[in-house]
């Protein structure tokens, strides 16, 4: 009896090397396809033509000088958070606790602003704010790292839980410090005295942007040219190799998470002390999660992260302009962002692998 062997129509091969131009071509095609789908969905929802939709998106992000500054400021904050998460991801530590670390940093800053006002000179308060928020973020980051280092606790889940504990802590202090009593929110802190407000450099948006630039450069150097960065990479590739060459994996995990949390705390400081001058439970606005995606999309490359965070914020601001213009719900932005993310996530496959379709298709029946 003749045995029939079923041969698959195509098979998948891992690409050994791909030049970066080819890789970026694939990514850009994916983004364009995603934008086309977004435009289509917007058309269905609003009945407007695609060109004016993109004009509206662009107007929403860069329409006026003020909007451009605000967009850049949003990019700066998202960039800082993404950069903070990056070293952890590089060593395969899935820190999805950025949200909580940002909140704790913000909370520490707010605590200094509220409790120390009029007791210490303004400059001292600002120094204390910087120190305490960085410390608070670092502590919040290092707790899951200790669990991981000591008992190999799953970090995705433990950092996730830390987010909600932080959220509730902020909710607690919001009520403790609420002004006026019973309103359930803090309002602008030190509105008249401006104690603890981070100084304006040029205009009020520039401070975060400059900080983001400094952190980007610093992180690039740290990951690429220092011994620490190299150790992180080795741990990420293989913990066994790291142990074999004498790197203390536990030490690297704890040290890296201290850094990761500290930079998140810095983002919290900027949000509270520099931008909002108040604290709410939603002050980080899901950016701890968005940062995970920004960092991953950029392949953990700090410079590429500038573009991915710009893309996300651009779509976000643009889509909220669309929803305002057509009286749709603000969550429209999340849908569009989601679609773009799916496309970019999916296209990585075509960068890493090659699909080879069987050539003798059709000859089979002959």
């Amino acid at each position: 009896m003749e045995q029939k062997i079923k041969e698959p129509r195509f098979h998948i091969v891992k690409r050994s090397d791909i030049c970066s131009r080819e890789a970026w071509t694939i990514r850009i095609i994916a983004i364009l396809a995603a934008l086309a789908l977004c435009a289509l969905i917007t058309m269905v929802c609003t009945g407007d033509n695609p060109i004016s939709i993109f004009a509206t998106i662009f107007k929403g992000a860069f329409g006026t000088q003020r909007k451009t500054w605000i967009t850049l400021q949003y990019v700066a904050i998202l960039l800082i958070i993404s950069l903070a998460l990056t070293p952890a991801f590089k060593m395969q530590f899935w820190n999805v606790g950025g949200e909580g670390q940002v909140l704790m940093g913000g909370l520490a800053a707010a605590a200094c602003m509220i409790t120390l006002a009029d007791k210490l000179p303004g400059a001292v308060i600002i120094i204390l704010m910087i120190a305490s928020s960085i410390l608070a973020g670092a502590v919040w980051g290092v707790i899951p790292a200790l669990f991981k280092a000591l008992w190999n606790t799953n970090e995705t889940l433990s950092t996730l839980m830390m987010n909600y504990i932080a959220t509730q802590l902020v909710a607690y202090f919001t009520i403790v410090w609420e002004v006026p009593k019973g309103s359930g929110k803090i309002g602008i802190i030190n509105q008249n005295s401006n104690i603890g407000w981070l100084p304006n450099i040029g205009n009020k948006y520039l401070l975060s942007i400059i900080t983001a630039v400094v952190v980007t450069i610093g992180m690039f150097i740290y990951l690429k040219f220092t011994k620490h960065g190299y150790e992180i990479e080795v741990v990420g590739e293989s913990q066994n190799t790291a142990r074999y060459v004498g790197i203390s994996v536990e030490k690297v995990i704890i040290r890296t998470m201290l850094l990761s949390g500290a930079i998140c705390g810095l983002a919290g400081l900027l949000l509270v002390g520099g931008i909002n001058h108040t604290i709410t439970t939603t002050i980080s606005d899901g950016q701890g999660f968005t940062g995970v995606m920004v960092s991953w999309l950029a392949k953990f490359n700090p410079v590429a992260m500038i573009f991915t965070s710009l893309l996300i914020i651009f779509m976000d601001r643009g889509a909220s302009e669309i929803s305002t213009a057509f009286e749709l719900n603000q969550s429209f932005a999340d849908i569009l962002t989601g679609i773009i993310l799916f496309f970019i996530i999916g296209c990585e496959f075509f960068i890493r692998y090659k699909i080879i379709v069987r050539k003798d298709l059709g000859k089979e029946n002959a």
Binding site: C45, N154, L157, M161, V292, L328, D334, L341, G346, F349
Partner: protein
């Protein structure tokens, strides 16, 4: 003052969405897929059901809803909506081998956005002239209790006073526990989650198991969203009302150490913890309530740390959790 008979039904009502979500996530995780998109899936399940029943209520003459269709249409819509989300997740992570954490988080962003967008804009998009989405007629069918619940005293209140989805949730959890523990399919599924390479070598179709279990998991989780909006919230959709229950469901998976049957009681416990702040004394200090709301998360964290400390073999997460399988990769 504190009445257990009044407290338990409320805890159960809080617990049912968590139970459905965590049962779904458990069988997903058993296949080695860490689906962080569950919160999004639950939103999509809820809003799909709402959309289905919204159009049905619009189409049917007032007061003439067919009981069977009123339940059937939202149910099917919710299942299809969450199935599509599951397929998307599988396509990206299993077929295209994308990173599971990133895909899951993107699905959560998308799903919550999807829910809130249609929840907020459905009326405008459909051109209907009603002030808000309030599906009380459909909700009546969902929250209809067993006929003898009212006249059996406290027994009725504690055991029979829930809509049918609550009982469905418990049955699903028990079936899942049985299948995982006692059947060959369950054994294969656990093998895929522990060591996909070994399972593959033993002739188990790894892709098929991952696809089926993740999609089924998403559908079950989607039902949790449907229960919340149709039964607990009385058919009234309000944006972000579902809150962080999706994440709590993922927490519950850890708390139950990947056992759906343990989930039945623990979900009620979690539901109780979730609303405990309403009952704990705080006097004039309302801020303590915010601290009490922390309890479920702290408990989960403690359980997570303890199970990893004790390092008992049967209490561990599936070994390949969070990693993708590619046969040619070594």
């Amino acid at each position: 003052m504190f009445s257990l008979v009044a407290f338990i039904p409320r805890a159960v009502q809080q617990g049912v969405p968590l139970l459905l979500g965590s049962t779904g996530e458990t069988i997903t995780e058993k296949s080695g897929n860490l689906n962080l998109g569950i919160p999004g899936v639950m939103y999509v399940g809820a809003i799909s059901g709402v959309i289905g029943s919204f159009f049905y209520e619009q189409a049917a003459a007032p007061g003439e809803l067919n009981g069977f269709l009123a339940i059937f249409i939202p149910l099917i819509c919710a299942l299809i909506g969450s199935l599509l989300m599951g397929l998307l997740y599988c396509f990206l992570t299993v077929s295209l081998r994308a990173n599971q954490n990133v895909t899951g988080l993107a699905m959560t962003t998308f799903g919550i956005g999807f829910g809130n967008f249609f929840g907020g804009s459905l009326i405008k998009l459909a051109g209907a002239d009603v002030p808000s989405i309030s599906l009380s007629a459909t909700s009546q069918y969902f929250s209809r209790t067993l006929p003898f619940a009212a006249n059996t005293g406290w027994v009725g209140k504690v055991f029979f006073s829930y809509g049918f989805l609550a009982y469905v949730a418990i049955i699903i959890a028990l079936i899942c526990a049985y299948v995982l523990k006692k059947t060959r399919v369950g054994l294969h599924l656990r093998a895929v989650g522990e060591d996909p390479a070994a399972a593959d070598a033993a002739g188990i179709n790894v892709k098929k198991y991952k696809y089926v279990s993740t999609c089924l998991g998403c559908m079950i989780a989607g039902l949790g969203g449907l229960y919340y909006v149709m039964d607990y919230a009385c058919g009234v959709w309000s944006n972000d009302a579902f809150g962080d229950r999706g994440w709590l469901a993922i927490a519950l998976v850890i708390f139950t150490i990947w056992k759906p049957d343990v989930g039945v009681l623990s979900s009620i416990l979690f539901g109780g913890l979730y609303i405990l702040y309403l009952y704990l004394p705080s006097g004039t200090h309302t801020e303590y309530k915010e601290l009490y709301k922390m309890i479920p998360y702290i408990v989960t964290l403690v359980v997570l740390v303890f199970t990893s400390m004790r390092n008992k073999k049967e209490d561990q997460p599936p070994k390949s959790l969070g990693t993708n399988y590619f046969r040619e990769e070594r």
